[in-house]
Symmetry: C2
Amino acid sequence: MTTKKYLQMLQKEIHSTAFATVDENGLPHVRIIDIMLVDDDSLYFITAKGKEFYRQIERQKFVAITGMTGGRGDSLTKKAISIRGKIKNVGQDLLDKIFELNPYMKDIYPTNTRYALEVFQVYEGQGEYFDLSSKPIYRDTFTLGGKKEVHSQYVIDKNCIGCDKCAKVCPQQCIDKLSPYSIRQENCLHCGLCLETCPSNAIKLLTI
Amino acid sequence: MTTKKYLQMLQKEIHSTAFATVDENGLPHVRIIDIMLVDDDSLYFITAKGKEFYRQIERQKFVAITGMTGGRGDSLTKKAISIRGKIKNVGQDLLDKIFELNPYMKDIYPTNTRYALEVFQVYEGQGEYFDLSSKPIYRDTFTLGGKKEVHSQYVIDKNCIGCDKCAKVCPQQCIDKLSPYSIRQENCLHCGLCLETCPSNAIKLLTI
């Protein structure tokens, strides 16, 4: 799927997501934030100037976001989208449009109290899609604002002796018996069992 | 509600939550993690040794968690629970019990592949409950492992001149006209409009 489709899924199907930040002590924080507006390759959210969250994002202009579609309860029935990226404060110009698109906001911030809020844009970053409801599991990556994709993956190199131990131990059965053996990246859980099991040191975790 | 009740709500009603961590560059990460088991004042989750998440929590033994109940889509219909606290790796002794309680895990990690996983306990921390579906909004705090509660709140002190400006501007109408005026903490959005509006510098954001 394209970045635009993933962003639309995030706004329309998921909408309420978790935003993670780092405080002045280097410790993580996370809270529920709604995705108010998206365009082809960026997304917008709002927060009030009086919040801890506001101070944290003004200091480190970066957030990590994750959200999932509804489901039966456990994560096995759900699809998750995660994004990490740079943000900027774009002021209050989009506030009225956002309140029109998300009328429930008028119940929380009635009349002019909406001007306690400011709008932020995630303008550059990378995203990951993770579907635990498919068998085997399915993952995909995408980018925002033309940022080059960077991600980690387990890879089998030419030291592979074809012993089949990695394929046997893989919980998702996503290792193909080629020469060398090969991991289907879109189905990999990143559990690391293959690397742990390989007797010939042929499996590496690479950041690509 | 008691800590135990909030933890049970987290495991049974919410189950799939977002866990935030900090990487070696000081940047936030977040992903969906299920709450596998709770007791009176701690909770348990699992992850695979091959994951980036595993390395981050082994380095900084601290996580921030948030999750919300299902709802119509936007956060206005939902109740959220957030917890921040210290964690420890408790090995694999609880794995079989966790797989019995959460049988869907057998589809992701069939047979013996479950031993790619280790169990972690959040044993000390503090939590917050946030209900945007009630009018006015409602918040509450609780602790895990006997940790003293620490939280921020807006407070009005004796510099209050009773001018009523803060009460007029409050989006949740949660400021009582006492002497000095007083903020009902359980209904406060932490938007900061009152502090911004006060002409007599009587409103402070305190960490208590």
